[in-house]
């Protein structure tokens, strides 16, 4: 794979940072940079073809309506869903989880029911469920994570029952980078007839997802972590579940017939997309999927695996550097601490070298509590990162360490 050619599609890397350095962007688990094609899709819409969708029988509204439908179809193929009806556009993964919590789960809950999540969840896949538990007297059960970063699958087996009304789990930890075995989880959950929601926000920039193979009931993701724009994402849901649910929001665009007495709603997915959608965002998402699909999936996965292994072995040469979790089932996300230097101080020093890393708790405070760490440094890679980026990271870390010693 020609990484220089791939990287050249991202205009941000053509400039220097305010400290005069090349930008080394290692915070891809938070959000990824945007290729020109995504930026063009958005600017083209606003500058040349701006209109609403689904409501106007004129140019350019009809053009955009077709394009939005095409993106829905792209997402369907991207996730290997059965139908476009299973694809609902949202404002992002967080929005999707909140909507499923409110429209799907809340109306079913009663005291004594259980919601199961895992210890590695991002706050987005924890707090909506915690709030439901508070409101409905439901119990929140948390799947423990082992020192290796893997979930305790035997614990899941023991604790799943028909009391568990939903199991919500991420496809991989945004801190440890360890993938969860979703197929194994859905197989177990099927026995207790527990629906499974997968937070796939972290995986789609580097791994392909097949919702039919995973057999999950819901899956959410955000475009911005896979080279697309912010403020747009997707809920995938099995058709019977999306049909059964009340609309995520109420308003225009989702109705068949409205009187002051009653309203009939459109079929899925439109029933769940009230209001004028984030059209530019959806078009940008379409371009992001095209970008990901133009890269060979095998080559992308192999390249990022090689890069991650190189980073792991390079980082381990630094005295006092401790990596959180193990190395099996690792995605391109590495969290670590260095003895005697706070992650924020490390981040400030790296920033001066043009290196962007994340320092803190990464929106996963309970996970850091589990590992008894107040904060860590996280580096996460995307297809435009290189071994040279990692060499510069290690050099900068050694300089930082020398300063603080």
């Amino acid at each position: 794979m020609d990484i220089d050619q791939v990287k050249s599609q991202f205009p941000i890397f053509r400039q220097k940072t305010p400290t005069g350095k090349d930008l080394i962007y290692l915070d891809n688990a938070a959000t990824s940079q945007k290729p020109q094609s995504v930026i063009d899709a958005i600017t083209n819409y606003y500058s040349k073809e701006y209109s609403t969708v689904g409501r106007g029988a004129y140019w350019p509204a009809n053009v955009n309506t077709v394009k939005i439908n095409q993106v829905r179809s792209k997402v369907k193929n991207f996730l290997n869903a059965q139908s476009e009806k299973e694809i609902v556009f949202t404002a992002g993964a967080t929005d999707g989880i909140n909507k499923i919590a409110r429209s799907f789960l809340a109306p079913k809950l009663k005291s004594g029911d259980v919601i199961m999540i895992s210890q590695v969840e991002h706050h987005a896949n924890l707090i909506p469920w915690q709030e439901l538990c508070k409101a409905y007297g439901t119990e929140l059960l948390v799947i423990p994570v082992l020192e290796s970063g893997h979930l305790d699958y035997e614990w899941i087996q023991k604790n799943l029952s028909d009391r568990v009304k939903l199991l919500a789990v991420s496809a991989c930890s945004n801190v440890l980078g360890i993938k969860n075995d979703i197929k194994r989880i859905t197989a177990m959950a099927e026995l207790s007839r527990t629906p499974v929601l997968v937070d796939a926000a972290q995986v789609l920039s580097h791994n392909r997802v097949d919702v039919q193979e995973w057999n999950c009931d819901f899956l959410v993701f955000s475009a911005h972590k896979m080279f697309g724009p912010t403020g747009v994402g997707v809920v995938y849901g099995k058709q019977d579940l999306l049909n059964e649910m009340k609309p995520f929001n109420y308003g225009g665009g989702i109705v068949k017939e409205v009187t002051f007495m009653a309203t009939n709603y459109q079929d899925i997915p439109h029933k769940h997309e009230a209001g004028t959608p984030n059209i530019a965002g959806v078009l940008g998402l379409g371009a992001a999927i095209e970008f990901v699909e133009q890269l060979s999936q095998n080559e992308t996965e192999n390249y990022l695996e090689e890069l991650t292994n190189y980073a792991l072995s390079s980082l381990k040469t630094i005295n006092g550097l401790k990596i959180m979790g193990g190395e099996q089932d690792k995605t391109p996300v590495i969290s670590f601490t260095i003895d005697g230097i706070h992650p924020h101080d490390i981040s400030t020093f790296l920033n001066e070298e043009g290196i962007c890393v994340r320092a803190g708790h990464h929106c996963a405070q309970p996970l850091l509590q589990r590992f008894e760490i107040p904060a860590s440094v996280r580096v996460s890679f995307a297809i435009y990162n290189t071994k040279s980026d990692i060499d510069k990271l290690v050099m900068a870390l050694l300089k930082t360490q020398a300063f603080f010693s």
Binding site: H342, H344, T348, E352, G360, H361, A375, F403, F404
Partner: protein
């Protein structure tokens, strides 16, 4: 190491962040509060003994970066023995010192080198919350004290 970093990580800040003179818990205290930055997880518990209308003794415990630790240490040092009437003025001066929007130069505000070291936070807006974490929470506590 570049000049910008040198200005932020001055010797005084590194020394104060490692000094344990004010680290710990008081057996007897009049005021106890937590300064917490939810964005990064830095967290300090501060305890203050008020006697004879002044801050008699101050201690802090917890974890954070070198800037936030040094800042908590300097808060304890700077306010020890200070009369209640003048505490607010000193806290507000520190907050102005680290505020890039202030129209005063740091040197116009103080000649105390331990305090001036934190003025570099004006150049690092992302680190201002580290520099003023404990001080801002103390100001909140003073407001609560006044109301009660």
């Amino acid at each position: 190491m570049n000049e910008r970093l040198k200005s932020l990580y001055q010797t005084v800040i590194l020394q104060k962040s490692r000094e344990d003179k004010y680290v710990g818990k008081l057996n007897d205290f009049s005021l106890e509060f937590r300064a917490y930055n939810p964005m990064c997880g830095d967290q300090f518990d501060l305890q203050i003994l008020i006697e004879d209308n002044s801050f008699k003794c101050l201690k802090y415990s917890g974890s954070g970066c070198s800037i936030s630790r040094a800042s908590a240490a300097v808060l304890c040092e700077h306010l020890q023995g200070v009369e209640l009437d003048t505490v607010r003025q000193k806290v507000e001066l520190f907050l102005e010192l680290v505020d890039a929007d202030s129209d005063k130069q740091p040197e116009e505000l103080t000649d105390d080198e331990n305090l001036l070291a934190f003025a570099a936070a004006r150049e690092f807006p992302e680190r201002k919350t580290c520099a003023d974490l404990s001080w801002k929470e103390l100001l909140n506590q003073l407001d609560t004290l006044n109301q009660s």
